[in-house]
Every structure is written in structure tokens, then in C-alpha cells.
């Protein structure tokens, strides 16, 4: 069974629980670029408790993917190079 997909007209992200490490973590894949980020339990808990202003700030494109060149790399969560294990 493949990952669940959370999608709307603005973004498409595959979501799965990954257990290849010593514990479980959430694997998020931006399906439009193949870019992946993992979130562990404490990061997820922090998102659950984060103030709404924090989420709004995260949605500013200039904060990450589309920031000006002198503000840091465009992409900090890199595309995965490791092959997926057989399912």
C-alpha cells in the first residue's frame, strides 16, 4: 500500500510513517518536486502546539523556498537519494 496523499489545488504531499530508523517518524514528500522532510514525534508535537502566527509565518514563500539569494539556500530539506526499501 502506498502512502496517503494530502492534496488540494495548491499542493500535493505524500504522507507516511517511516520506521527504518530506530523509531518511527513522519515522512512528507512534496510530490511536485520530490523533496522530502522527516518530522519526529517532538517536532510534530511542537507543530500541534505552535501558535497560529507561527503557521502563518511558515506560509510566507519568502521564508524558505522562494527567498532572495542572500537570505540562505532555497532548499534545506534535500531530495532523497536513498532507495526505498521493498514493500
Amino acid at each position: 500500500m502506498g502512502p496517503d496523499v494530502v492534496a488540494n489545488e495548491f499542493a500535493t504531499v505524500a504522507v507516511s510513517v517511516d520506521d527504518r530508523g530506530n523509531g518511527t517518524r513522519l515522512r512528507l514528500e512534496d510530490r511536485r518536486t520530490g523533496t522530502v522532510r522527516y518530522l519526529d514525534a517532538l517536532e510534530l508535537e511542537s507543530i500541534v502546539w505552535a501558535p497560529e502566527e507561527w503557521m502563518r509565518a511558515l506560509l510566507d514563500p519568502s521564508r524558505h523556498r522562494w527567498r532572495d539569494a542572500d537570505r540562505g539556500p532555497a532548499q534545506e530539506s534535500l531530495p532523497e537519494s536513498r532507495p526505498e526499501p521493498p514493500t
Partner: protein
């Protein structure tokens, strides 16, 4: 009744001209074909008065949204994280691109596909790519977000918006028509309507007023709809005759109805109005009697659902709901759905089936009417006679016990009332 616009007669030549085109018993054909009249209607009616936009049941969860319209205007109806309803213009504040393309979805924020400007579903601007071009993130505070309709109000789940900052309240606008929405909601054991059956988008090459007039025209059903009445065995057609005790009523504010309830009361059968014996919907009937007590429940189920045209664009036709959307002087879209009642699954299944037959893609009722609208639009393009007759039943019009002007089931009382209100707004 409060009027939205004071009369411009004597000071505005166009107002005088439009007044000259509406008589107590006739209207001029150019009112359906003149682009200048249509442009004025958009400003004076569609972008001024309360217009029905959607229903709260279409955005049940936080961050749900649906694309809707106010005449030719594209809007998005959203429910934000706090549960509040917003009606936003579907236009990026940067370069005017359409921000939302999907008919419906769930999103707390919208990102314009053109340059990536990102907005909260409240309309707030959240950010834009490469903000140094605007001097940094602080530019967010001075740049506009998505424009919101100045006024949004909800009555029994029905969401209306006005693009004018000031004017009568929604409750003042609805007047006695609000009670018709109450009557509709009362048919749910939970007192709520749910518009969850999906929509048919039906476009006709006709002026929008042809549709508004037709919705409570009781003179045409026996002719235009004879085929669906005959194959469905419906008794409704016979109620639109001069032998009927049903009435056509002007509710004020341009709102009108065909009130068939006198006939349904004479019949005295719960759900007789829907042509559905209670043995076929036992769960619904039981739920209604549990909710209201048998006496009151039977009264509600006998009186039935309203047939009301709420000016300018919300038409409730017993079991189906139409949203009328003008897109040009001679083009109109009807958005149609089967009405669903909360906590009434067995009734709802039948209503969907009935609506598939009447207003579905191959439905007979809507197709019949659409043919008449389009023939009518082609007909009024002919130059003579210049006037359309509105005189039917004028001599036998009377005032009922509640002070409303009424005519018989086939009289043109409703059209005359619509045109009187039209003049208040237009001239």
C-alpha cells in the same frame, strides 16, 4: 419595505428612460436585450442588494471552501479556522489572476499560481516570493489581501453577500420571505437544510429576468411541463389552474411565491405535496413526529415545502434549489441542486431521485423551461410588438389577510411585483 436606492427620476435621464419601459401591465422588450440596461442592473442590483451566495453546509469543516458567484463576479466562500464564513473575490491582489480554480476543497491558505502570492482563507496576505523586491517582509502590511464582500450575513444557513458597504440588513431584505426559508427548514427533523447533493450547472442563452419571472409563473406549467406531469403521475400540474385554491403572492422586495399549501391542506395527507406516501419514508415520518409531536409534525408535512423566488437569485422549488447567475445580457447560468434535509436519509434518497428526473442533466423539467427561455430571448429580439403583456389577473388581484397582494395560481401578480421592485432599484 425599505428601498435600497432613492429614485433618480427627474435627475438621471437613464432612470427616466427605464421608468418609461415598465408599465403596470406591460414591460418593454429592450429590458431583456439592451447591454446598457444589463450594465446598470449589475451595478444597481447585483453589486448592491443582498445576493444569495451559498449554504453553510457546503463548507462544513474548518478551512473548507467552495467557488461561488455574484452575477458575473467570481467569489470564494470559505470557512476559516475559527468557523467564521467569508466571501472573498477570487482575484489575486497582485496581478488579478484567478486564485482558486477548483470548485471546492480544503485549504487554510491559497497560493496564486501566477507569482506565488499566498493568502489566508480570511483574505489576509501571508507573503510573496522574493520579498526584497518589495523592500522585505514588512511590505506585507501595506500590500492588499484578497478583497472581501463588504457585508456577509447568514439566515438559517443560507449565506448572502452584499457588495455595497451600506444598505438594509439581510433580515430587512428578506422580509416575509425569511418565513418561507423557515418553512423549508421545518421539514428537517433537525430543522436544517443541507446542500450536499452536488450541483448541475445549466447555461441558457437568455436574460436572467426571464428566469426570475418564470419561477413563480403559474400560467406555464400545464403547457410547458405537461409531459413530465403525465409520465410522473404528478398532481402538481392540476394545481396551476383557475380552479385551484393555490395563490400567487407578492411578498415585497421583489420576492414572490406560488403558495400551493391551501391545496395540500385540502388534500390533508402528510407528504402528499411530495407525492410520497409515508409508508415509503417511515424513518423520516417517525423522526418528524418524534421531533415535533404528531399534530405539529403532520401539519408541517401536509403544508409542504415553499415555492418561493427570493429576488434576485435564490429560487426554492419545493425539492430543488436554483441559484441564478447572469453572465451576460443574454446568458444566464442556473446552478441547481436537490435539497437535502438533515437527519432525513430515506427522504433524501427519494428527493435526489426525483431531482434527477426533473433537473438532472437529462431531467425534463429544467430542459422544458430552458427551451422556453431561449425561445423567449430569440422572440423578444423581434421588433414588434415592442411590449410584453403582464396584465393577466390584474383586475382580480386582491390583498390577503396578511396584507400581501395575491392573485390566482395562474395570475401574473408575481411578475408585476418583481418589476415594481426592479424600478425601485434601477430608477
Amino acid at each position: 419595505m425599505t428601498t435600497d436606492v432613492t429614485t433618480d427620476a427627474g435627475t438621471d435621464p437613464e432612470a427616466d428612460r427605464i421608468r418609461s419601459l415598465v408599465r403596470p401591465d406591460a414591460v418593454h422588450g429592450s429590458l431583456y436585450t439592451d447591454p446598457a440596461v444589463y450594465a446598470r442592473e449589475l451595478e444597481r442590483i447585483w453589486y448592491t442588494t443582498w445576493v444569495y451566495v451559498g449554504h453553510t453546509s457546503e463548507v462544513p469543516e474548518a478551512d473548507d471552501y467552495v467557488r461561488k458567484t455574484i452575477g458575473p463576479q467570481q467569489v470564494v466562500m470559505t470557512r476559516d479556522k475559527t468557523g467564521a464564513i467569508h466571501v472573498l473575490h477570487n482575484r489575486c491582489s497582485h496581478r488579478g489572476n484567478l486564485v482558486c480554480d477548483a470548485d471546492r476543497g480544503n485549504a487554510g491558505s491559497f497560493r496564486c499560481p501566477y507569482h506565488g502570492w499566498t493568502f489566508a482563507n480570511t483574505g489576509d496576505l501571508l507573503g510573496f516570493p522574493f520579498n526584497q523586491g518589495y523592500g522585505g517582509s514588512s511590505a506585507r502590511d501595506r500590500l492588499p489581501g484578497l478583497a472581501a464582500a463588504p457585508r456577509v450575513e447568514v439566515y438559517r444557513g443560507f449565506v448572502f453577500a452584499s457588495l455595497a458597504a451600506e444598505g438594509p440588513t439581510l433580515r430587512e431584505h428578506l422580509g416575509p420571505a425569511a418565513e418561507r426559508l423557515d418553512r423549508l427548514c421545518a421539514l428537517s427533523p433537525a430543522g436544517e437544510v443541507e446542500l450536499t447533493a452536488g450541483w448541475v450547472r445549466h447555461e441558457v442563452t437568455a436574460n436572467w429576468k426571464m428566469l426570475v419571472e418564470n419561477e413563480t409563473d403559474g400560467y406555464h406549467p400545464q403547457f410547458v411541463h405537461s409531459s413530465i406531469f403525465s409520465i410522473s403521475g404528478s398532481g402538481i400540474g392540476a394545481l396551476y389552474s383557475d380552479k385551484s385554491t393555490a395563490v400567487t403572492r407578492a411578498l415585497g422586495g421583489g420576492h414572490t411565491e406560488n403558495d400551493l399549501s391551501p391545496e395540500f391542506r385540502r388534500l390533508g395527507v402528510p407528504m402528499g405535496w411530495a407525492g410520497t406516501p409515508e409508508t415509503k419514508i417511515p424513518d423520516y415520518v417517525a423522526a418528524m413526529r418524534a421531533a415535533h409531536g404528531t399534530g405539529k409534525a403532520d401539519e408541517i408535512m401536509i403544508d409542504g415545502s415553499p415555492h418561493v423566488m427570493i429576488f434576485p437569485n435564490l429560487f426554492v422549488a419545493e425539492i430543488q434549489l436554483f441559484q441564478i447567475q447572469p453572465i451576460a445580457v443574454d446568458r444566464t447560468v442556473q446552478h441547481v441542486t436537490a435539497i437535502q434535509f438533515k437527519d432525513a436519509p430515506d427522504l433524501n434518497r427519494r428527493l435526489v431521485t426525483q431531482c434527477v428526473g426533473s433537473v438532472g442533466p437529462a431531467g425534463m423539467l429544467l430542459a422544458d423551461d430552458a427551451e422556453m427561455y431561449e425561445r423567449n430571448q430569440r422572440g423578444v429580439a423581434a421588433r414588434h410588438p415592442e411590449w410584453l403583456d403582464l396584465s393577466r389577473g390584474l383586475q382580480r388581484e386582491r390583498v390577503d389577510d396578511d396584507g400581501f397582494t395575491i392573485g390566482t395560481a395562474t395570475d401574473e401578480t408575481s411578475m408585476r411585483a418583481m418589476w415594481a421592485h426592479y424600478l425601485e432599484l434601477m430608477a
